[in-house]
């Protein structure tokens, strides 16, 4: 019963309108489109570095790179002495900037689930992602701030959601942003929930049937076009027509392959139907290295990684050394190492790859790349997977991937080398448009102004279902705090973990169990005297606005 309640809640969240970005009145055109980054360190391509160089950008093109280059009179000069210049990053598979459709309440039983029609079955290959782009979508800004300038984007959905496009992350109008339209036919080997095909076996059968039907109708349309006299008119079917470029080998099929066995299903379709294939969002690709290599499939590995384990609870282990548990932990760690070491394993196997941000959170991306590097990927290889390799895999090498004259002005400029832990993005250029990021150091407040949270707080979490009220108690324990939460759905007090009070920034976690599933809840916000304002995130259930006030009685 409770789980139903949460699912409903999920649906409600999904139905909320996407928050718009407040645009500053009217954007003024830049004074100049000529830029000079002077006396800087340029990493032209992985392993090719020039120090003390100047980079000139003019009208969206890199015109000059090298030492002793005169600065044009109309150039805006960026002093690059302590900066590092790299080619803009390319994401091989993502939803960046793509509007998520409103989720329909599909809980009613379909009348005849065996004949749902194309759309309900998730078969919309004719859909064009260009019609679904929102330049103001927050994701564009978030990925660009990391240095991503170009992404191959796909519509949301499962099975055959539609056609991909390669877009620039400059936030321009859809048609202005698109570099390559219909770059791939996108497919996820995942069924819709309650109509045919409702299983993997149904999806794979329908895939083959559609492909064969498309092949037959494509042939017949050509016969008909050559001489229409005396022939039955072919019926046009947009769904089948969407396969024609694939059948003609002019367009690849882009599969999401994030689950361990997905890639094997893709091998079978590829070898049977013989079309060009790209596989993206791979997480356990190292289980199939040799077959991936033999298949020649173009690969984009996921930028998502499972969280690194925390060193908590060590005290307990000392008290009760449990050999079985240790063994399980060891295997879990091996599995985690395999995930983190995926990119290095691909390098060792001689398979080139780009990255996919589809299931990664932007805030984790740079840290994840550093974890992959610690697991054996070299920084040059990591840079190549962000720039030169995806450019090549997507057929964009003549336009991007390196910092060389003639290439598009897609750059990322950092303080400190890119994969340095303290590296910060200072500038990003997308197609010659500059985005500047201020060096804002988060200043910690003095200890004197550190908020005091000891006591009982009434928390109010604003879910689309209404407000839930909880009591949270904090107790001071030396320099840190302990505490618990109770109320609402939580009948017995649950201990808080990771309570972190930094100045007036408060963060803490706890776990609740819903219908046998453990949900990690994290509350994060600012304390102002006796009030609190922040956000609650509850795993995949989403994030909710949260306020609290300290109970004066305590």
């Amino acid at each position: 019963m409770i789980i139903k309640h949460w699912k409903l809640l999920l649906l409600l969240i999904a139905a909320l309108p996407a928050p718009g970005i407040a645009q500053d009145e009217r954007e003024l055109p830049p004074v100049t489109r000529t830029y000079a980054i002077t006396h800087t360190t340029v990493v032209q391509a992985p392993g090719r570095k020039i120090e003390g160089a100047t980079v000139i950008l003019k009208d969206g093109i890199i015109t000059q790179v090298g030492k002793d280059i005169p600065v044009p009179a109309d150039a805006k000069v960026i002093k690059g002495d302590s900066l590092f210049v790299y080619a803009g990053f390319i994401d091989g598979l993502s939803h960046t900037g793509v509007i998520k459709p409103k989720e329909e309440n599909n809980r009613e039983r379909p009348k005849d689930p065996g004949n749902p029609g194309y759309e309900k079955a998730g078969i919309t290959p004719q859909q064009d992602v260009r019609n679904l782009l929102n330049p103001a979508d927050k994701s564009i800004e978030e990925w660009r701030a990391l240095g991503f300038t170009v992404a191959q984007v796909v519509p949301h959905g499962v099975f055959l959601p539609g056609n991909a496009s390669i877009i620039q992350l400059g936030g321009g109008a859809p048609d202005q942003s698109v570099l390559v339209s219909n770059s791939a036919l996108y497919s996820e080997l995942v069924p819709t929930s309650n109509v045919y095909p409702s299983t993997l076996i149904g999806v794979l059968s329908k895939w083959r049937e559609l492909y064969k039907q498309a092949t037959l109708s494509h042939n017949y349309e050509q016969v008909y076009a050559s001489n229409r006299s005396g022939l039955e008119r072919p019926v046009t079917d947009r769904v089948l027509q969407a396969f024609y470029p694939v059948i003609d080998k002019k367009q690849p099929v882009l599969f999401r392959a994030d689950q361990p066995l997905d890639i094997y299903r893709v091998f079978n379709l590829q070898s049977e139907l013989q079309f060009p294939v790209i596989a993206g969002d791979l997480k356990d690709g190292s289980l199939a290295l040799q077959r991936i290599k033999a298949s020649g499939i173009k690969i984009f590995l996921s930028l998502d990684l499972p969280e690194a384990p925390k060193d908590e609870g060590k005290k307990d282990d000392k008290n009760t050394p449990d050999a079985e548990k240790q063994q399980l932990e060891k295997r879990k760690k091996e599995a985690l190492d395999r995930r983190v070491g995926q990119a290095a394993a691909f390098v060792n196997a001689g398979i080139s790859f780009g990255f996919s941000g589809l299931s990664a959170k932007p805030k984790d991306v740079m840290a994840n790349l550093r974890r992959m590097i610690a697991a054996g990927l070299s920084t040059d290889q990591a840079l190549a997977a962000l720039t030169t390799v995806p450019a090549q895999l997507l057929g964009l090498s003549d336009r991007m991937g390196t910092v060389e004259p003639g290439k598009m002005a897609n750059l990322v400029v950092t303080a400190k080398p890119l994969f340095d832990e303290k590296s910060k993005v200072r500038y990003v250029w997308v197609d010659g448009t500059m985005f500047q990021y201020q060096a804002t150091e988060v200043k910690k407040k003095d200890d004197g102004t550190k908020a005091d949270i000891q006591g009982v707080w009434s928390f109010s979490i604003d879910t689309p279902q209404g407000k839930t009220e909880n009591k949270v108690t904090f107790k001071k324990d030396g320099d840190s705090y302990t505490g618990n939460v109770v109320g609402g759905m939580i009948t017995e007090p649950v201990d808080l973990t990771d309570i972190d009070l930094d100045g007036n920034a408060l963060k803490f976690n706890f776990k609740i169990t819903i219908d046998g599933n453990t949900v990690n809840v994290s509350i994060d916000g600012k304390v102002d005297g006796t009030s609190f304002n922040g956000t609650t995130s509850a795993g995949s259930f989403g994030s909710f606005a949260t306020t609290a006030s300290k109970d004066p009685k305590f």
């Binding site: 004949n115 070491g341 060792n348």
Partner: protein, 461 residues
């Protein structure tokens, strides 16, 4: 730096390990001095069995083994052919495409999951080959795949028994009528409806076949420019049944509906059919034998729903003695680990001979799957699928010690590690080794069909 080197080394070795398992799908073993239960050629005492590169090459005394072959001393032990489970749902990611009364086009072989630990558990019960079936939610369900339990690789292809004949699941009675008639108010709601659905499907397939045959014929004429008929994988598959290319495995319980299905087969010229479960098959055993139909039954399991109340533990024995090719099956990941007990029960109920009872779990299921020329008995030239037991397999003290598939020892009771998972999810809790992707204890035959029933249960109450 050292740490990084270590990780690189682990990765390198990890990859090497995967490759070795993938390549060593055929092995060589010599089994010395065992009591060899060949099933088809009697029992031979103190005899050696030699398997070279996955095939049985010699059976006899004092055989010389090739270099590198593993030697197993089977003195005092019993050597039998690998057990074949003709009705299983393990090693599959999906089982039921339950959304329509006929889904002949889907194929469980598209969803093989080689990483389920249930496969290893089945090996520990002496099972070497399974019939990985579609569920029973539809009158005509999906095609099934025959798998060899080559546990140890993440590549689904490694488990496929290449060249095994195609099979398909049909279902009569309560399951398809409950799902489609009860759940949606569409045909079939009754047993009559099930017959209608099957007959209509075959009739449509016959028309479809005729249309394509005509088109393919016309195409041979010079300058032909006509439109092809609409391609339909469902009808294509049904046509393949009519062409005799697919063996039907029909979930059924009652004698009347089994008899109905026999007539349908006769009318459409279908020769190869195996009735699965078939609790009342004993009532029409002569009719089954006359038509060459086969039966795969439970030893003594019934009364789990209304249509399974009329049942007998003598079912298998009666069928065997009437000349019906009969097997026992599990339909269950736990029961499949002691199919040798299931076969043994037919000696208590019906007094089958050792060879007759042994055949129920070896050569007979092999016949039902069309693989009896390759597996199901210990004979020279057959595939090296062998189980070595402590005590006779039909004894209540039977215990599998080694299970060998294609000459590779896949289970060795002396070397049976605690954690045999092939895939570990790094985000999974380590409290248990339960594979959360597969909840144990559910009715796999009807898995994934709950949503179809909606509030039906309250209607029925």
């Amino acid at each position: 730096m050292r740490n990084r080197l270590y990780i690189l080394l682990t990765l390198a070795f990890g990859i090497a390990a995967v490759q070795t398992t993938a390549q060593s799908n055929r092995g060589s073993v010599v089994i010395r001095n065992g009591t060899v239960l060949t099933v088809t050629k009697g029992t031979q005492d103190k005899t050696d069995v030699l398997i070279v590169d996955g095939k049985i090459t010699q059976i006899g005394k004092g055989l010389s083994a090739p270099a590198g072959a593993r030697v197993i001393d089977a003195s005092g032990l019993f050597v039998m052919p690998g057990i074949i489970d003709p009705h299983s749902h393990i090693a599959l990611e999906d089982i039921n495409e339950a959304t329509a009364p006929v889904t002949a086009e889907v194929f469980t072989g598209d969803a093989i999951d080689p990483m389920q630990v249930m496969i290893y558990r089945a090996l520990a019960g002496g099972v070497t080959t399974i019939h990985a079936m579609h569920g029973s939610a539809n009158a005509i369900g999906g095609q099934c795949e025959t798998l060899k339990l080559r546990y140890g690789t993440t590549d689904p292809e490694a488990l496929r028994m290449e060249g095994a004949p195609r099979t398909i699941k049909f279902a009569l009675g309560e399951n398809p009528t409950r799902v489609h008639g009860g759940g949606y108010g569409i045909v079939p709601r009754t047993r009559m409806g099930v017959e209608f659905v099957i007959r209509k499907a075959f009739s449509d397939a016959r028309d479809y076949m005729a249309k394509w045959d005509k088109y393919n014929q016309d195409k041979l004429a010079k300058g032909f420019r006509g439109a092809p008929p609409l391609y339909n994988r469902r009808l294509e598959t049904l046509a393949d049944i009519l062409r005799g290319q697919i063996i039907i495995h029909c979930h059924s319980y009652r004698a009347d509906e089994i008899n109905m299905m026999l007539k349908v087969c006769k009318d459409f010229g279908i020769k190869r059919i195996v009735f699965q479960h078939a609790n009342e098959a004993f009532k029409i055993a002569p009719e089954l034998a006359a038509q060459g139909a086969m039966a795969s039954v439970f030893s003594d399991w019934w009364a789990y729903k209304f249509e399974v109340y009329y049942a007998s533990a003598y079912n298998a024995a009666i069928l065997v003695r009437n000349g019906v090719v009969t097997s026992v099956n599990s339909d269950d990941a736990e029961l499949m680990r002691h199919l040798y007990h299931e076969a043994g029960k037919t000696q208590k109920y019906g007094g089958l001979t050792d060879d007759e009872a042994m055949a129920l779990m070896t050569i007979n299921p092999a016949r039902q799957l069309g693989i009896d020329s390759r597996v199901g008995s210990i004979e020279v030239g057959k595939e090296g699928d062998v189980v070595i037991f402590k005590s006779h397999p039909l004894s209540i003290y039977a215990l599998p010690l080694y299970t060998i598939v294609d000459g590779v020892v896949r289970f060795d009771k002396d070397k049976d590690p605690d954690d045999m998972r092939l895939f570990v999810d790094p985000t999974q809790s380590t409290e248990t080794t339960v594979d959360h992707r597969y909840d144990a204890g559910v009715d796999r035959c009807m898995e994934g069909t709950d949503f179809l029933f909606g509030d039906l249960s309250t209607e029925e109450n």
